[in-house]
Structure formats: C-alpha cells, structure tokens
Symmetry: D2
Subunit: 289 residues, 4 copies
C-alpha cells in the first residue's frame, strides 16, 4: 500500500526542554511542509523528548541532502539525534531462517500482496530445507551451512555479513533463525536486526520456551519481536502478543498456537520498522502506531 504522494518522515530525539515542539513546527512550516501526522513522547525517567513527524511538501519534496542541510541548525540547537526517511523508497530486507517456514512464508506472502512495503533482497539459511518456498517467489536463497571444517560459525557469520553488505541490506529479519549471533554481528547491525522470540519475554528466555511454559502450567503464552542485541533475548521490545491456553493444551498445541502469534507479531514489528514508527533507546522502544 504505497503512498501515492511522497511523504517524508522525521524521527527526532533529544533531551527534553521547553520549546522543541514549537521549533520543529516552525521549521517545517518554513520549509513549506504540511504536517500529516505528528506524534511525540516525553520519557520522564530519562528526560528525553522523542518525535515522529510525517510531512508532505505540496511544491515537491527536497532531496535528502538538501533537507539534512536545512535541518542542521535546529538539530544542533537541541542536540538532536535524528533521521529522515522518504516513504517512496522501499527498504531492502534480508530474511534469515532455519527449518521452520511459517514466519518466512507469511512475510514473503505479505510482501507479494503489498502489505509490507519492502524489497526482499535475499533469504539466507543455515539449512537448505526452505529453498523451494523462496525460489518459487523469484527470490534468491543462500544456503550458508555452519561447517566445522570451513571455519565454523565465525566463518559462516562473516560470509553472511558480506552477503548483507553486498546486497545493500537495510533490515535483517530473523524469521525463526535458530542460531545465536555474535556480539560483533549484533553490534555492527544494531537497530537493524529484528528477532522473533516464541515467549512473552522476559518469561522463558532462552531455549524451548513452549516446553517450559507447559511444564510451569501457565494459562497464557506469547511471542515477542525485538531488536537483536548482544544480550540474547534482552533487546528492545517492539511488539508482544499473547493467547490463552489451558490444561487441554499439550506442548504440540502450544507450538501450534504460538506459530500464529509468531507470524503476526513478527510481521507487525517489521511493518512498524519499515514505516519508521519505532524509536529504540535505552533498551526500550517508542512505537508511534
């Protein structure tokens, strides 16, 4: 569902102080921009102001360099961390998978149907089993096995990193990729890797969450999409959802119900990221939905 008119999204973050909203609004007015949506949030615990502004330029949008230049004085005045995004660009996304195909086929289908406005640059996997689902959609599938004789995991990760760089990937989605990423990798790709964890974090961090949920006898299970960080399952949470379960549900039922959560939670998080609605900071997120 691409916008027909180009819109520019500004994501701003700075120390909270009086006058920011007025200054941003005045700046945009002088640029000839009409505000289409504006959301802001003040995080009192951290003394931060965060804003997402979506604007249209009736007389044509400036290019990115021009807008950056114009924005600089305002950004310096408030010591802002900022980014600008055009809604007519389709971000290039890579999907990493292992053997479970439900998140993969769901994401591929959403891109094909126009629900997610992205270009799938490639799919990579440490296994070769999901290749058919990818290739029949005319997307390149890269099998990157972890081979102890060929450098093991570090070598495989280096190859993956190179692949992502070569294809100008802007967002990496771990669509049930069952390998732990190295600190180096997550640092390099910080804020650009979204993972789906099959529990309502922080409950059942780590492996086999459905088994542990069953053992504990919980009455609710969940799924969590978050940015990947060096601390496994500890990154900023973007989306969570849950579903009720009962004593009638065996582990296989939890897995089945969880798969539906994983699909929709991951797809939501990817959409929110692609629409520049997520601001991550201090291990948390502001989601302007």
């Amino acid at each position: 569902m691409s916008e027909t008119t180009e819109r520019i999204v500004l994501l701003l973050r700075c120390t909270d102080r009086p006058g920011i909203v007025a200054a941003v609004a005045e700046f945009l007015q002088r640029q000839g921009a009409n505000i289409v949506h504006a959301d802001q949030h003040t995080d009192r615990s951290h003394g931060l102001f965060l804003q997402r502004v979506e604007v249209e330029f009736p007389d044509g949008a400036p290019d990115g360099y021009e807008l950056s230049e114009a924005l600089r004085p305002l950004a310096e005045r408030f010591a802002m961390t900022w980014s600008i995004h055009s809604t007519t660009r389709r971000p290039r996304v890579a999907l990493l998978v292992s053997k479970d195909g439900h998140c993969l086929t769901d994401l591929l289908s959403r891109v094909e149907l126009g629900e997610l406005d992205a270009e799938i640059a490639l799919v990579a996997s440490n296994h070769d089993v999901l290749r058919p689902y990818v290739e029949r959609a005319d997307i390149a599938f890269h099998h990157l096995p972890i081979d102890a004789d060929a450098g093991g995991k570090p070598a495989q990760e280096a190859e993956m990193d190179q692949l992502l760089v070569d294809h100008d990937v802007e967002l990496v989605v771990l669509a049930r990729y069952m390998q732990i990423l190295s600190d180096d990798f997550t640092r390099t790709w910080a804020g650009r890797v979204i993972n789906i964890h099959h529990s309502f974090l922080p409950a059942f961090k780590g492996a086999r969450p459905y088994h542990r949920a069953h053992e504990r006898g919980v009455k609710i299970i969940g799924a969590t999409a978050h940015y990947a960080t060096a601390d496994l399952d500890e990154g900023p949470i973007i989306v969570q959802d849950v579903t009720p379960v009962s004593h009638r549900d065996e582990v296989a039922d939890l897995v089945r119900k969880g798969r539906d959560l994983e699909r929709t939670v991951l797809a939501s998080a990817v959409r929110l990221h692609l629409e520049h609605r997520v601001l991550a900071y201090e291990n948390r997120t502001v989601v302007f939905d």
Copy 2:
C-alpha cells in the same frame, strides 16, 4: 491519584489547515507554559484537527478567565472549539442506577480508593434497593420512583434534572440505569452523560443483549461505554471491550462475564472523561489515552 502540581488541559478542535501546531506551541510558550503531554489527531474524512495539550506553569497557572482571554485571539484565528480544565478541580458526578449494583459499587469503591478523581455528588435511582451501598459510603441516595399518578416519567425526569442542577453536577453516569431518557434530557446534558451498554455495539442494540447473544451463538460478548444521545445506543463510543465465550456458557454465564466487562469498561470511560481525554464530534470520539 491527584496531581500534586496543578496542570491545565486544553482541548481544541478546528478545521485542519497548516500552522496550527506551531501556533498553539508558540502561544503556550509565550504564556510561560511547559507542555507536559500533547496529542493531536487529524480526521481526514471530516477535515478536522483535534488536540489535547496538558501544560504546567512553573510560575503559577493563570486563572480560568485570564487564560480564556489570552487564548481568544488564537481561537478566533483558527475558528476553534475549545475548552480549558484544571486538574486540581474534582468534577462533581452523579450516578443513576436501577437495581443492578455491580457498576455502582465498583465506581464508589474506585472514588474512595482514589482511582477516580471525582466527587460523587449524589446517587439517584428509580428503585430503592441499592440505598444501603450508597449511604454507608456517606453519599446521598435519592429515590425517584416513576409514579404514574404523579406525572409518570416526564415528572420524574424533571425532578432528576432539577436535582442535578441543584447539585452542580458536571457528569452523569448511567451505571446500569434501565430507563430510556427523553430527547430533551439527552439534548440538555449532551456530552455529559455516559452510559454503559451490555453488548459490543452496534451488535445487539436494545434490550436483553445477553439473551440474544446466546441465541445467536456468538463466540465473543462485549460491553460499550458511550455518550448518551437521543438515538438510543447510537451515541459516540468511548470504550469497548470483549471476552470470549463458548457453547458451555449459558445466559447466566454471559451475564456474569458481562458484569466484569461492564465494570471495567464503564470505569475506564469515566476516568478518561474526568481526565479530559475524550473529544466527541460527529458521533465519534477521539480518546487521547
């Protein structure tokens, strides 16, 4: 949970056009106000801009007349519909009930525990059965029976209206008041009467919704809090919530599950209104929560 510092809430509505956000922000800055929260919404279908701004005045808040006066030029420039509210005032609320006590006791308890920042001016009822729950909380209970020999419903409603006026009531909550209000009454009290309907409107409008839900075999039931209007069950919706049901639930179970929904949905709507978070227009609401 009263605010310790006085805050002023501005609710603004006008035809959408460029420059409003900047003008409001600039106005507030000149008044010496710090924006604590600001939410805005543009309703594209109706071409309207709506805003809620919550501000603090570090040097002391102006009184209401003074702020009104200061706001006038801005309001005239944009042809705004507006209101201003101080968070240190506790709105005076009347509860109307019939025989079901669950919403009544829930609301009374929330006011006593400080969850709802209001003063219960009175409780009135067409029946006398809930008197004990009210009087033991030291609140006046008015029994206003509908007596065919004493003018019937019009006379009773006139008496009720007088009672509300005499007690300077600012918000009327129909906490399961099972009488239809006249067009005159709803017009006089427009935007100041909140009703709870025991279905997820517009499904099962009118009487006996749980029986009809059971008969239809739905798998979800709900409750709806809305402003009362002359068209029964057609007023602007403030809050809705639902809960799953199954074939195991008989009508009595739907009633039981529904009572929990009614309590929390009505209490939420009342809280949002008391905190000046609801803007009603064109038979809909913007809820800045």
Copy 3:
C-alpha cells in the same frame, strides 16, 4: 501434524436423558477402544446431548462399515445423529476466492507446512488474478467467470458445483469469495461450506463492514468464520476474534488489521472442522477444542 496411530472420532447428538455417557463408554470398551479424549455438552435450552469421543484401538481399528454396524443398536436406542471419522484420512478441500489473496496464501502455506491436515483438491475463482499463487504450489486453479452471455451466475454456480462433485470435495472454504451463493447451493452443501466474514457478526452484516465500522466509530473490529447458509451472514458461528482500533485508524488501517484477523480466524475454523471438533445444530455450534 498427522497422528502416527490411527484414531477414530465419533460425533454424537441426541435428546438428553440419563445413561448416555455410561452407555457410550461401555460400548467403546466392548469394542476394545481406549478413549483418548472425550468431551460432551448438554444444551439445556434445546434438551440436547452432544459428544465428541476420540479413541484408539490397540488391536487395530475396525473399518468404517464394521464400526457403523456395531454402533447401530446404541444409536437407535438413543435416536442419535452421529458420524465417524478416521484421523488418517485427509479430507479433500476446495478453496473459492475472488481477488484478495491473503486468506488463500495463508491456507495454502498452512497445508504445505503441515499445520492443516487436508488435501487441497482445487482452487476456483470468479477472477483470474490469484492463479500464480495457486499454480506455483502445484494446485489446479479453475477460473469460473460470471459471464452474462453464458448463463450468468446460475450457470457459473452449476459449473462450480459439478467441479466440486467431480473432485470429491468434502469441504468448501470461501476464502474471501465475494459472491453470494444461491439457496440451492448452500442447501446442497450445508455444513460443508465455511465462510469468513470481515466483522464480528452480527455487527456490520453485509457489505463494506470496515467502512461502516469506521463510520460508527467503534473501538474494536473483528472477523467471523461460520458455516454458510441461505441467510447471508446468519449461519452457525465457528470462530470469532477481534482487535482494538482507535481514532488513529483510518479505513485502510481497519482493512489491514482485519486481514490478520481474517487469516487466523478462517484457518482456525478450517482446522477445527478438519479435526471433527465442530458440531453444528440449531444455527449454533459446539466447538470441542
């Protein structure tokens, strides 16, 4: 997730009276069957007893004729309506679609991934646009346009009916098929056609539910899977689900959120039907999940 051991599911319905549970349990014991799951429900309003029993035969399951014969005396004694199902048979399913592909691709993917234990016999559509998604999964796609010069809708429906018969179809899934089926068709296929409606029925029956939901200003939208009957949108409800919306959601957002509901609600209803967990009667369902 096929069962490795064959299980037999018995669905039973009869007038409620004492002794049924004991009689069924005793019957199964004599047949050498072990009860793996048993669920029953007494509908007091209609005076009916309904039961689902899932059994294993450690010494090998009897064939369908043999079990029918054995069951006959019990069924006659209690005047039961009954059916028997083997979990090792994969029901043959036809999907009917129009132009929206999200439910189609979701169902195809679930069958491929083994989440739904069925065989997709064919996909038929009054439009030709979704053909590629079907054929690349090696499933036959039949374009059955409604052609005014070739008999119009009755002719197209007759062709469709013949197609379903020719392919021994046991379940028809209307995966966003935007044509009203004739009374004849729904009668012929009664209890074997599942439709997805994009509202929480009975709210917003009929066309354009998301537009009407937006106009009404509801705070919750939903989706409903039900058996198709002659009365449009009035058939027995199998599954419903909802999601919160707010003033920030325009019609396009309701459509987007609704698509996620439609996918999961329809897939759940299909799974429950395929696992013989749904008993429909008196325009309602018992769902033994």
Copy 4:
C-alpha cells in the same frame, strides 16, 4: 447465584487406564444420580486421569457420609484421590490484606451482590487502614500487626493460623497481602490459599513487578492468581490475564491498569475454587470452567 436444586460435585484423580469413565458413569447411574455436567482430562505427561462430575439426585441427595461410603469401592478399584462437595454449602473464606484495598472491596462487593457464593468469615491484616471498608459491611476485621517485641512474624502467623482455625475457614485469599508466608503455614494450608501476584508469572517474580516491567519496556503486563506454596510465586497457576501497555504508560499507569487485572483475575480464581472447578497437582491446575 445459588443453585436452587442441590447438586453434588465429585472431583476425581487417578492413574489413567481404560474403563474409568464407564465405571464412574455406571456408579452414578446406580446411585440414582443424573449427570448435569461432566468434564475430564487426561494428562499424558503424568499418566493421570482427572474428572469433575456435577450431578443431581432427583429423589434427594444422599448425605456426605453415605455417598463417601458408596464411592469407596470405586475409589479403591482405581486408587483414586477424590473429594465430594455440595453446592448448597457456602464455603467460609478469610481475606488477608495489607494496605491496598482494591481487591478487598471488589471481593466484598461480589459476595454481597451474590456473584461469589461464599461466607466471608473474617478479614485480617497486618495494618489497620482498611478496617472501615470491612466493618461497614458487617464483617469482622482483625488487626494482626507484626510486632518485633511480641514475637515478630512467627507469633503473628501463629495468631493468624489460630484465628483461621477458630473460624472454620476453608479458603484463605491473599488479597494483596504483602507478607511472605512461612513454609509451615503454606504446608498446613496447602491448596487452600489463593494469592494474586501482579505480573504474568513467571515474568517478574518477586517484588516491584510493575517497576521492573516498565524498566524492561514490555508491551504487555499481567496478573496471576495461584495457590500459595513454600516457593514464593511458584505455586500452581489458576488464572492469568494481561493487558497491553505502551511507551505512554509510566509506572503509575501500569499500576492502575494492573489493579483492574488483579481484581478480575483474583475474583475469577476464587469463584472457580468455590465452585470446585480447580484440581491442583504436580504444581499445575486443571480448571474445568
């Protein structure tokens, strides 16, 4: 909502093996009992069969000794753990509280309105602040302070235990009682103490869950009602529920939203226990709702 006809509830648990359902059904038939509801569950991981049967005796229910005697041969044959309950007895319940009154007033109100079919034998607290809410409902309030000079916590707990025994208390509800109970106490009262924890366990076990949830940046908070055991927050879970939160919610908002969850989750768990719908075993529960 007391039953007008006396019903007897049987809760049964034994090692799973063929023939139990038939044997129970035949036993009840011989006793002249009609089965009104029957639910059973087979826990395959633990090889257990669990059943709840609710029956009516058209010719009058036997007394408890008589039914126990009649049940003995069946129970011995299957080595059952069992209990029998009459729906006409109103269990005697004690509420333990500290300073937060929301669960207390909610439970008191539900008993008064007939939503919970119990007799509140007493309310006890380590603080004196909630006395007025209790005494105005004509219920005894016992202030049991923890006094270092008078034996401290062990002495207070001993006094509390004695109080519960003196008043024939059958169920103890920790309605936000902020004291850890000793191992001895939880062992003595095993299966008869229900606690409400203000998080979706096992997330945020221990103290200050809302603060920690806020710090972690979760998008969902919850509440958990469970039987109290020696291992704090590790007992069998009866009911859980959750609600979405966002970056807009500060700790005070989480507390507010959580209070609504705590009320309804605790009240549900108490109702399920009072209706003999909960079977606890192996640190989990079967809830026949």
